[in-house]
Each structure stands twice: as C-alpha cells, then as structure tokens.
Amino acid sequence: MKKRAEAIPIMVSARILRHISRGIYRTPAGALKELVSNAYDASATKVTINTGYPVFEKIVVTDNGTGMNKSEFKTVIGNIGLSDKVAGKKFNLPGSRVNRVTIGHYGIGLLAIGQLCRKVIITSKIKDSCEGFKATLDFEQFEVNKKDDIERSSIISERELEEKDKKVEDIKKRKNEKFSIGKCYIEDLHYDTKNKQASFTRLDLEQIRSEVQRKLSGNIIYEYKDKYKDIDMKKKYYSNFDKLLKLYREKEKHIRQGQYPYEKLCWELSSYSPIKYPDISIFKTKLNNFKNMSDKYRFELVIDGMEIHKPVEDILFNDEDYPVRNIFQWVNETYYKDEGLKVSGYLVYRQYIRPKSLQGVLLRDAGVAIGMFDTTFLEYPYHEGTKFEQLTGELFVEGLAGSLNIDRNSFNETDDYYLALVKWFHGKLHDEVFPTIQKHMKVTREDAVDAFMKVTKRYMKDSRVNYNVKFKNEGRDKPLFCKEGKTLFINKNHPQGKPKKSVIEKLCLASILVISGYISGKEMEKILTTLAKKSE
C-alpha cells in the first residue's frame, strides 16, 4: 500500500526578514531608492529627502502622494510579501491624464530601510479625511531571538505552526499562510478640517546605524588619512546639484576609492529616479524626445534642499576639445513583436565620457533605472576595444517589470522579454553603432597621418633637409624610430607611435627633432615614454 505523503511545514526564520531588510541593497542609496519608488507608486509628484548632511543623525523622507489610512497600512504591514501591488501596473496621477506604471512590488520595500536605521516612524494621511496615523516600527525586534540554538519568530512557536497547518486544508488558503514575526505600534492622528485635502507620507528614519553614519560621512575612509595624503577631509558645500555633479566628475577617481560617499549617494539617486533632465540645450534639440518622456512622469526629487535632475552636465555635450561625434536615437521601436513591446533610446558617441560612471547604457523601466550604466552593453559578445568607453546612453523599455530581480538592480537573464531586448539592442550595436564609429575612427586616423605628413614635409622643404618620414608596422617591442638611409620609419605599433589625433602633435615634433639630428631616436623614445607615463 502506498504511504500517504507527509506534509511538513516550511519554517521561515524571523531572521530572513533581517536578511531582507538589511541585505537587499548594497548601498544606502539602494534603500533610499526603495522609498522613492514607493512615493512614485503613490502618485507623488515631489519627494524630499533630508539626510542631515554632514552628520546623518536622522533621515527624513516626505512625499506628497496619496498617502495611506490606518487600515491600508495595517494591510501592508500585515501582509509582507503578499502585497497585491504588482510592478508594471498602469495608473493615472489623480486628477490628471499623466500615466505612470508601478515600479515597486512585493511590499517588502518598507523593510529595506532597516538597513539604514533601527527605527522608523511613518506618518501618513489621505485626502478627504481628517484622520491620519503614526506608526513606529522597530527593526531591532528582527535582530535576535534564539531558542534551542535555532532562531525563530518570538511570537509563534513551531508547534503552534504545525497545529495551525493541520487545520488548513484548502491549498489556496495555505498559499497565503503567514505568521507574525514582530510588532508595529500605531496611533491615530487627527487634523484640522482646513487640512482635510492634504495627503502625504513622511518617514522619519531615526537611530541611523552607526556604520551607515560613518560610511556616509566618510569617516571610514578618514581613518586612513595618515596613510593616504590625498584624502579630502573638508566637507563640501554645494549651492546646487550642478556643483555636486562637477565635483563628482572631477573627483571620480577618489569616489571609486570610497571618498565622497554623500556625493555618490546623490549621484546614484539622481541616476535612478524618474526625474527630469537638466535644462541644457541638447535636450531641447536633438534629444528632445527623451526630455518629453521624462517630463511626462512629473516627478521631482529634492535632496537636502537641492533640486535633483538626471546626472548629465552640459559639458558632456558642449566641449570643444571633445565634441560629440554622433548621436544614435531610436524612438518607439518594437523589440518584442508578439506583444508589441516598445523601446526608445539613445547613445551618444564621444571620445571622452566623464565621469566614467556615465560610460555604458542605462536601462529604464517606467523611467526608473535598473542598476547602473552597463559598460558591457548587455554583454555584447564582440570585442570592440575602446568604443565601449566612448558611448553613453539610455534605453527606455516597456514591459520588463516582470523580468526584474528582487533588488530591482538587475534582470533575470533567462527571461524572454529581457532576451528579446538584448537581441534588439545588440542588433543595433552591430549594424549601426559600431560600424559608424569604426568609419569615424578610420577617418580620424587618416586625418591625423595626413596632418603629420604635411607638417613634416613642409619642415623638411623649408630647412632643406633631404629626408622622408613613413609609418611602418613593426612589433610592439621594436624601437619607435628607425633610420634607414634617408628615411625615418616610425613604428605604428609602438605605444608612442600610434597615429592618434591626441598624440600626433607630439610625434610630429619628436620626428622633426630626430630628423634634424638634435636628439637620437632612442633618447626621444625614452622621453616620449616617460611623458606618456606621467600623463596617466
């Protein structure tokens, strides 16, 4: 006789919530992004974040969204992980035709802020009501509770769960089985009738974790100040966000080493959020479509009194030394035919993309960034050398909400929609972008060599020096200069011999000095190599 299968309860430790609340996001910006997402989903048109810079004792996030009433909040807190808020759902901003698409899901976003603080106070009120609420959530209750060396919820024991499980026969009900892992304290608030139409949500993140404070204030890196001379101790002041972006660009190397964490936080939030572009000419002209796309979300973010916009500067598009060479654009192209899913995007080709954080492509779902700028271009399979570093752009994609991983920083790479997007994008890169760049590079190199030849020939004519100069393909480790009779050969494959626009002037001058006999080829090679090392 066949034995009946045994039903065993799936025991979930309270600790999983600690892992989730403290472990989803790599950085403080990640946790704050979650709050921005929630505000966006609540139809907020403005979110303000007060970080308490430079002390970071308390962080306050306020939005003017629809808010919640007490019973809605109780539903949220009583159904962690079972939220029917589904990403990708369309909704209108109240009283307007402005469309948005939800970006949050699972309902666990609230717990993510446990990464930042030990306690949060949530105050909220909906429109057309004089009643609101204040809820206090203590994250410390998820930290410790061990019994028999096995961590459990402090409220319900294993035996109670087993007995409960036996009573539940309906599988559908069992799917939504949940258990309490802690408490949240909630009190009613009453408002004057003159405030009846106000709606808001405010989160006071209190008792910021000391490691977060230390991280954001830069104190962790300052502990090394005696060892490293170039650590900047002075807290910076920015009258506006453009000044912060300028510092980010100038000090990016230091930022990657852990300095300026506040600036990094602001930059990440500005990159992530569905906010407008800065008021610069490129977005009023060539990239106007994308400006319109962003503006339609009607979403403002203010951090510590600074109005935040997307982290691009005018200098990226208006620099005489490094002009934009090409802009590739695609508007409303279909990447998944079966469901008519569309994508719009642009790529800017420029020899020098700074800050480096902008190098690559950034994917946006409903205007919100997924991860950071991707320098692999969704793992483009062919080697294209320096071209990857000379491109920056964004893709605004619809229909990818279901492909997101839980942290919303990456995609499930086996998802059909995601794969379709990759295919579309790689096709564009292969057929359009990289061939155009290749052609341009060839022209640039030819221009550089032409200019070089013109100058050297003119010198030789004027000085009546009977000499020829030619480029030659030799091994990388062969000398840069080689005289053979009346011809000076320049080794094209030597690191200092590549006829690139950026070095051609130096090479020209060096060649003239060698031809004229002022200096030997070997000595000149040494000088050029030393100069190149210093300028790195």
């Binding site: 007060n50 939005d63 002041y237 506006n240 009194g305 109005e307």
Partner: protein, 339 residues
Amino acid sequence: MSINHLMETCPLKQYIRESLWEKYIKELKKKNINYLTLYSPPLMDVKHFTKKGLIQLEQSVYKGVMAITNDEIRGLPETIKRARGRPEFLFAGAALHELIKDKKNTELRGTAYDVINLDYCNSIFGSEDSQYISSNLKDIESIIEQQDRNNCKKFMLFITSRTDSFNSRKVNFAPSFINELTARIRLNLEKNDSFRDKYKHHFGTETPSALAGRDFSSFFPIGMAKLVSMEFASKNYAIEDCDVCWLIRNKKTPIRELLHMAFSVQKKGNKIVRVRQNKLEQFGTYTYMEEGVTLILDKIDRMDSVNENEDYDKLSKTLGRNIEELRNDTFEIRIPEPI
C-alpha cells in the same frame, strides 16, 4: 527658547526686518543684491528679502547670498530643514575677519556686497578691559576694507549689538570701550560745528560721560555711529543715512536689549575731512571726520524701539501671518500639525 526658535517666531525681530532692514535695502533699487549675512539657520532675513523680490531664488539657490556660519557641522543641516533653497555661498568659521583674511576664500573676498548684515547676538565689545579691539569690531574693519578693495560705491551696513543696559544703568561693556566712545563723541563736539549744535539742542551742556551714565540708550547709538563713521571715513565712505531700533526682551529677567543700527554708506572721495591731530605724539597722523554722523542726532528723538511687554501681542497680530509664511517656506513638503 533656542535662538533658532526665537528667530523664526518673534514678531519683534520681524518688525526689525520689515521696518528697518527692508526699508534700507529698498533704497538700493536693486533686485539681485549681493547680501552677506551672519545668518542663523532659520534664514528668516534671506527668506523675507526673497519674498520681497530683493533676493532671487533660482533653482533652489538664493542668488547673491553669502552666508557665514560659525557652526561648521550643524549650520548647514539646520538651514536645510528650514529653507526652500541654499545660500549661493556658505562659509563656516569662527569670525568673519578670519575668513576674509584667508586667501582661499576667493568668492567671499572678491565680492562687493550691496548689503552686509552683522546681526550679532552678543555685544560689539566685551565686558573685560582690553587694549585690543574686539572680534566683532575687527569684522567691521575687515569688511569695510574689503568693500573698498572691491571698489564698492554704495552699500548698506546693519549692525546689531547686545547692550543689556537700557533703563537699567548697568553697563555691560568694558570701561575702556565706553571711554573710547565718549572720547570720539567729544572729538566731534570739538571739531564739528553742526554736530556740536545738534548735540547742544538735545542734551545742552551735558558731557558725553554724563550722558552715558544718565541716558545710555541715546549715548550708545551716537557713540557707535561715531566709531563706525571714522572707520568708514578712512576709506572715503560717508554715511548718507542711518537709523536705530531697540529691541527689548523684557518679559523675563534678566532684561535683554539689542541695538539694531542701519547705515546707508556711499563713497564720497574728498568730501571726507582729515583732521590733523594737535598733540605731539599724534603728529603726522589724521583723524577722519565726516558729516554723516550728525544724522544720528536727528534720529535720537524719534528713535524706534519695540519691547515684549508692550508690543509683542500687537505685532503678533499684524506680523504673525508673515512670520508663519516665512517659517513654512521650506523645500520640505509641508505636513500639517495634528491636533
């Protein structure tokens, strides 16, 4: 009650902003003033002048505002909570003159200010005798020198000093400072006919020392005007107009008194008189005399003063709404208070 809370709720202080400071700034007839302020975090003065169109708020920046804070760590976060934008420049330091001396502070040193607001919470001079000038007086000296260096033709200077001696006859300044003010007034009485005539008209033959003992509330503004005018004159600036308002906090003891002075100053070139000294030891040196200080005597009879006991409630009714608007003028989304 903290100073920050006082700054953003007190109707008497709002009265000073509107009746004294705003009035003087409007004389400049400029919309984008360069404004240097020893601010307190509520930034009420900046917000008020912005509301009146005298300072521009562009993309959350108060343009042309140079704010000096002595709290490097908390000065900024406290301001951010309370304002709708940020001052265009912010410098943190213990004293203005130290910041001006530092050549790295290029924006601070390189600006010709239209309005300088030295709204000190403490006294312009300490209570202990000292041969040296006080930090606050050094600030005044430095800023006037800088205005000259930056070729500023016309500006307004506001100075606030705590005195705590109005009606109490108890003076909290060092005797040496009072003696100095007395000596300056005496000098004007000796050298300046119009000053002497007006002084006589108000005070008869009473000496400055006697006046200091009897009526400090008149003595001190005259002495301060004289003191500051000599510093102005050394850089060929003359006082075009000046005004005074006392703010007295007398609801609780000890009574606190703050003198608010406003000076409208202009470059006058050779209209400043240099008076050679008479004593041998002063041979080769000059004292600068200028007419503008006489103006203060015109204002003595009509000197404005507000105090908590008599004016607080009345001003709360007339100015309360303005204060409320300024206080709520923050970048943060306004959350109503629950009842």
